[in-house]
Symmetry: C2
Subunit: 377 residues, 2 copies
């Protein structure tokens, strides 16, 4: 098998961590000795073993003289676990093939250097694009200090998300809603606006059974739910306050009497955001804050106004549109509130993926101006 073949296997292993590793990246590792895979590992969860450690444990003595295929540069620093580069050296690995350099400034080439200094043959940049795509959020956070922001919208052929009254259940089918559960499950954060809470009263939780994802129960985690609520209109009766999982409210001024949550349902924190020019929560500041907290992938599930604000401020890295084969009419609600009057104001996107999800069409796009194209991970 070629290097790319073994790396493909390592990427496959990395993808097993899609729903559990954050804030850490998804990483896979394959150890090959004399043409035989002698150990495999992937990172499952922050605080637990890195991919290399798990692969070395699986290989035992057979790691000596082996080649290690790693989807991300092995770490060189003491974090919650000792440096993986040292672990590979100690195990007698003689060659390392890596997919991407770790953009984490604590590593950034030092891992590869440590290996080379120990006399190990290092090949870099094997299947780089595929490895980037798996960790699109982690890479972006490390490089820009902002998370990767994905907006999900369900709409009709004529680009409408609900009737004027707000009536919208259901435009898309059960398979599309299950697909959205998977988008939530891979996200670190789900952002919504208080208007959506007041109109739709969503729970915004991950319901593992609905995702169709099979993973051990200890790996499941609820994304942080963020409600943008400039003027503290979040009602204490909101369903999302009752459902388990942490909640952050981004406000312009913390309320004197925040709503109470049921015991053991999770934390409710307020974050006082700077105001934008239009007197709303500054979205870029919020995203920067979320990145500082270690959040890689953010899912925006909101109405037209908030989704439009993210788009207008060019803070969307990806659009995921579920298009149902129906016409809701010209009085129904728009996809995104964007007040353009000239063609030159249009926001152009690039197709990344088009496929049927049940009876709905799923369109995935990235901004034309944004070089970080998302690929299917």
């Amino acid at each position: 098998m070629t290097d790319a073949g073994y790396m493909s296997r390592a990427l496959q292993l990395a993808r097993r961590g899609l729903y559990s590793t954050s804030p850490n990246p998804r990483v896979g590792c394959v150890l090959v000795n004399n043409g035989t895979i002698v150990g495999e590992g992937w990172h499952q969860k922050a605080g637990e073993g890195h991919a290399e450690v798990n692969a070395l444990r699986a290989a035992g003595d057979r790691a000596r003289g082996a080649t290690a295929y790693v989807t991300l540069e092995p770490c060189s620093h003491f974090g919650r676990t000792p440096p993986c580069a040292q672990g590979l050296i100690d195990a007698g690995i003689t060659r390392v093939v890596g997919a991407i350099r770790d953009p984490n400034p604590l590593v950034a080439g030092r891992g590869y250097q440590m290996l080379r200094d120990a006399g190990i043959d290092v090949t870099e940049a094997c299947l780089t694009d595929e490895a980037e795509a798996i960790n699109v959020g982690f890479m972006q956070r490390m490089r820009t200090g902002l998370p990767y922001v994905r907006a999900k919208l369900a709409h009709s052929l004529d680009g409408r998300t609900a009737m004027a009254s707000g009536e919208s259940q259901w435009i898309t089918g059960p398979q599309a809603r299950r697909d959205v559960q998977r988008l939530r499950a891979r996200s670190c954060v789900i952002i919504t606006g208080v208007d959506s809470v007041l109109i739709d009263d969503p729970s915004m939780t991950v319901r593992p059974a609905e995702t169709g994802i099979e993973q051990p129960s200890h790996l499941w985690r609820q994304p942080l739910r963020v409600v943008i609520d400039s003027r503290n209109r979040l009602p204490a009766t909101a369903k999302l306050l009752q459902q388990a999982g942490d909640i952050l409210v981004a406000t312009l001024k913390e309320p004197e009497q925040p709503p109470q949550r049921p015991a053991n349902s999770g934390a409710l924190r307020y974050w006082q955001a700077p105001a934008s020019n239009s007197g709303q929560v500054d979205l870029t500041a919020l995203l920067r804050y979320l990145a500082e907290q270690g959040h890689n992938e953010v899912l925006v599930e909101s109405g037209a106004r908030l989704a439009g604000a993210f788009a207008a401020q060019q803070q969307l890295n990806e659009l995921v549109l579920y298009c149902a084969p129906t016409l809701l009419g010209s009085d129904a609600r728009p996809l995104l509130q964007l007040n353009f009057s000239q063609m030159q104001q249009q926001l152009r996107w690039q197709w990344q993926d088009v496929r049927m999800v049940g009876n709905d069409l799923r369109l995935t796009l990235t901004p034309e101006h944004n070089p970080t194209a998302a690929k299917e991970a």
Copy 2:
């Protein structure tokens, strides 16, 4: 080769007439003698030889004892040409395999009967669905007295066709516009509204070089252009009056002084339509009139109001949407003017085809309530 294999070839031949046979159906014929194709033919143009005649001419004496594969039941009546069933009998054909019965009440099984009466072995219903799809307009006209109506719209991801000002050139790319040229070329009629003429001043012609279709120059024809103009606002300066090809104006009252067209540019006729309940040209009456004139496939290329009226009256058999990867914003023009207030009013469709055309996504849909699904011909 199987019957289906030879019939596939006959369907391929039939498709060569996609842009030239109307008001006649597209028909192909293959003659097979002892496992060898001895003659092929297709109908090219009304008034010229039918597929069977052309295939018999190609086969000559080798037709004796052969099997004929025909995509439509051979005609049994004297039209502009003698009956093809008789021609097959005279040529000594011993077996006929047909795809569909001719729904034309002048034929309707009599062709097959004439063959059987002459001792010919007849197999019916080979690749029926595929053969129906090629002649979706002809079949519908014969069965219902209405043409097959296709609406083409170009829009953004958020379901908008133009800015509020009317600015719209170009939302979609050159490949999509070329594809529209092919939709026009296969249509018998192109319908637009006078509002579109006043705003966009389109020519609505087929420009053969732009279609990418290769066929002899004598087979090209311009679809009839129909302008719906209840109150005679069509200006004499309209570009479509200057471009060659016949024009029909559907009005509620014929004007005393109709606009003049340049010499040799084609006819300009007025048709006085009954008024609908809302005081507009009655669209169903117009379609019925067009079918009576022998028109099979109608393409609606209009603004949101007229396209919405066709949709609301369930007079659209097919939607062809070219979706450009752009957001035009919530002030831009809607896809279809449809004033619904409740989800139960929604118009549901069925996906028929989804594909990239250049950088735009083409969506083809048929109404959920309509059993006549259009397939790619």
